[in-house]
């Protein structure tokens, strides 16, 4: 049971990552390879605010969000915007990777090399559910992730801005003709992804410890989660993330821990072979939906 909750908690972080990745993918068709570094940046900024300047948790979080939103916008401006038509080339792989190198090394130089402890929510209090020792922090991780996902989904379906996003992701040129400034939409998506990154960073930092390498191992899992659920699909991001978290938890119980990642990857590859559009593309979930729907 505890493993399950822990798996779901980890999974909720993967979901947040997948959501942010999906936000950017759906409007630009690329994945931001610097995303894991941005998460780290958010966590480190939060840490400094709390530990060095003694600011309250919430204020630190807001400052972290401001920093990561700004950095994501900068990444967009410097690494993506100039490339032009993104579907025709792979330069973005190199530029976003370059951004991640810069972020990682700047973080190392500014924040130091040693991992630091990061406070849990509710001061790490744990409660007992069905005999398992579960931290409130972990429960909050799951709840916050679901909360953010719900807000995003509602925004997408119900607001004008959400419709604009969907328009741009589906047909950027047509959207432009209809008076939607796809540049602004894309920029907002990058900004939102940055905000989500900070939240994810601050939530996972107590577990991984806050250091410039904290997202090294989980970075790629965010991408994996996004693919399992179907890229660009926000519901899928959650299914994918939680599934991956649970798979890891389950696999971890009977496989030597060194193999955990490799096995998780293997499972992911198998899923993709049979369901290239991600789990949600399976007929079970289709129910007559048009295959043109991306979000």
């Amino acid at each position: 049971m505890q493993r399950l909750i822990f798996g779901l908690a980890n999974g909720s972080i993967y979901s947040l990552m997948a959501l942010a990745i999906g936000m950017i993918y759906s409007t630009t068709g690329i994945t931001n390879f610097a995303h894991a570094s941005v998460i780290m940046l958010g966590a480190m900024t939060g840490y400094w605010c709390i530990a060095l300047f003694g600011l309250p948790y919430l204020l630190s979080l807001l400052i972290a969000i401001a920093v990561t939103v700004a950095s994501n916008i900068i990444i967009y401006k410097l690494c993506v915007e100039q490339l032009g038509d993104l579907s025709k080339q792979v330069g973005w792989i190199v530029t976003t990777f370059g951004a991640s190198i810069i972020l990682d090394n700047v973080a190392r130089m500014v924040f130091g090399t040693e991992p630091q402890s990061f406070p849990y929510l509710f001061e790490g209090k744990a409660i007992n559910i069905l005999g398992a020792n579960i931290m409130l922090h972990e429960v909050m991780m799951i709840l916050i992730a679901i909360f953010i996902g719900t807000i995003y989904e509602t925004m997408m379906q119900k607001t004008r801005f959400g419709r604009a996003i969907r328009a741009v992701s589906f047909r950027p040129d047509t959207a432009r003709l209809m008076g939607i400034k796809s540049e602004t939409v894309i920029l907002s998506c990058f900004a939102m992804a940055g905000a989500v990154a900070s939240v994810a960073g601050v939530l996972i930092a107590p577990i991984t410890f806050a250091s410039y390498t904290m997202t090294a191992s989980i970075g790629i899992k965010g991408f994996a989660a996004a693919l399992i659920g179907g890229l660009g699909n926000s519901k899928g991001a959650f299914i994918g993330g939680l599934t991956l978290g649970v798979i890891e938890a389950v696999v971890g119980t009977f496989v030597p821990a060194g193999f955990k990642d490799a096995i998780s990857f293997l499972i992911m590859i198998i899923v993709i072979i049979f369901l290239p559009g991600g789990i949600l593309s399976a007929k079970f979930f289709k129910k007559g939906a048009s295959s043109a729907e991306k979000i």
């Binding site: 040693e114 410890f209 821990a257």
Partner: protein, 402 residues
């Protein structure tokens, strides 16, 4: 080939050949007014960056002092740092640059064992002495195979012996071994197994995990399931802390004591590991640990104060390095200085002979005395290591003996 093409061809070849002149070989400086060049190899970026940083702080401090006092044999020391990013290929290339292009006389480092494995054979070919103060794998020190390599750090084998010996003496019945699956962990766990064998102990579990993994609960679970009363950790600090926390989550903290090798210590271990840290101990060089309520003394205290005045107090946003490791970097240079002065030259064979024959005469800043010989290029004995509690550090960065 017509004339035009021939001329063009020739011109290009000439231009390119001129570039070659910049690629000439470097050479060792033997002129007595020329500086003594020391190269420093270590991980300065990437996941092991703390190691390179610690080594660097120590080396810089020593060289600053030495140069201010007139240098070695009247010659100033010139340092060249190279970041090997803990990558064997890059380390070897960097070593080649230091030796061939820059012409260093000596090398300090590398800080990681696999880059060292890749590089040391090359250094032997070129008769360059290297002093290692952090890399602890047993395979990189061998007086026969690698005659010019020396180390002033507790090697894995000795640490493993110390850990196992300690566990046996304290009478634990169910001893578990824990290590990661990197070169480090594999080497260390193998050493521990060997010494368990020697001491007639059968470990009840041998658990491995992937370094820097976020979720250490499987490790803790395995320990709990095995009912271990003592666990020997060959883990890096952050990973060890995560495991300790996971053990606490499972409510198993009070049932087990943990002893880890030196790599596990980090100044903020207690903070990261939580209350379970009080059951953790590690090893330290005796001289760089304090009795409960005591203090460092003598030259060690002096060096400690120097480190503080040069790099600041330990703390968030301030110095984050471990002073004993910085001291080891410092001592690497000091050892070389002493040996060069005693040999009266920078000739590698002469310096090597001095260290081997008279190493015990040197007064170290890291340990109490080194036991180098023609057969042994490791400076320490198992008795030089003492168990230290790592749940609490004095002044934030000094070990307290347990």
């Amino acid at each position: 080939m017509n004339k035009k093409r021939a001329t063009r061809f020739l011109a290009m070849t000439v231009i390119l050949s001129m570039l070659l002149s910049g690629c000439g070989a470097g050479g060792k400086a033997s002129d007595s007014s020329e500086p003594i060049k020391i190269g420093v190899l270590g991980a300065l970026s990437g996941g092991s960056a703390i190691l390179g940083k610690q080594q660097q702080q120590g080396v810089d401090l020593a060289v600053k002092e030495i140069n201010a006092a007139g240098g070695i044999l009247g010659r100033q020391i010139e340092l060249s740092y190279r970041d090997d990013e803990a990558d064997p290929t890059k380390c070897k290339t960097a070593a080649e640059e230091l030796v061939d292009k820059i012409g260093v006389d000596f090398i300090v480092g590398p800080t990681n064992s696999t880059p060292a494995s890749a590089t040391i054979p090359y250094l032997q070919e070129n008769k360059i002495i290297n002093v290692m103060c952090i890399a602890s794998s047993d395979s990189i020190i061998d007086a026969q195979k690698f005659p010019y390599a020396f180390r002033i750090m507790l090697p894995n084998g000795l640490q493993a012996q110390a850990l196992v010996m300690n566990a046996k003496e304290r009478g634990y019945q169910k001893i578990a071994l824990v290590g990661d699956n990197s070169a480090l962990g594999v080497d260390g766990t193998a050493a521990m197994e060997k010494w368990c064998n020697e001491y007639g102990i059968v470990p009840i579990a041998n658990i491995s995990y992937k370094a820097e993994d976020a979720d250490m609960t499987p490790v803790a679970q395995s320990l709990k399931d095995a009912g271990a009363d003592c666990a020997l950790f060959w883990t890096l600090g952050a990973d060890g802390a995560k495991i300790v926390k996971a053990i606490e989550r499972l409510g198993y903290t009070d049932s087990m004591d943990i002893y880890g090798y030196t790599g596990m210590v980090m100044p903020n271990f207690r903070e990261l590991a939580g209350p379970g840290a009080s059951r953790c101990s590690s090893l330290s060089i005796r001289e760089w640990s304090v009795e409960p309520g005591g203090a460092l003394n003598g030259r060690y205290l002096d060096l400690y104060n120097k480190i503080i005045s040069e790099y600041g107090e330990y703390g968030v946003g301030k110095r984050d390095t471990n002073p004993s490791t910085v001291a080891s970097g410092y001592d690497s240079v000091m050892l070389l200085k002493w040996a060069i002065e005693k040999a009266g030259s920078t000739d590698s064979d002469a310096v090597k002979a001095v260290i081997e024959k008279s190493g015990a005469e040197y007064v170290p800043f890291f340990g109490s005395s080194y036991k180098f010989s023609a057969e042994d290029h490791d400076g320490y004995l198992a008795s030089d290591a003492v168990p230290v509690a790592i749940g609490e550090m004095m002044n934030g960065d000094l070990y307290i003996r347990s």
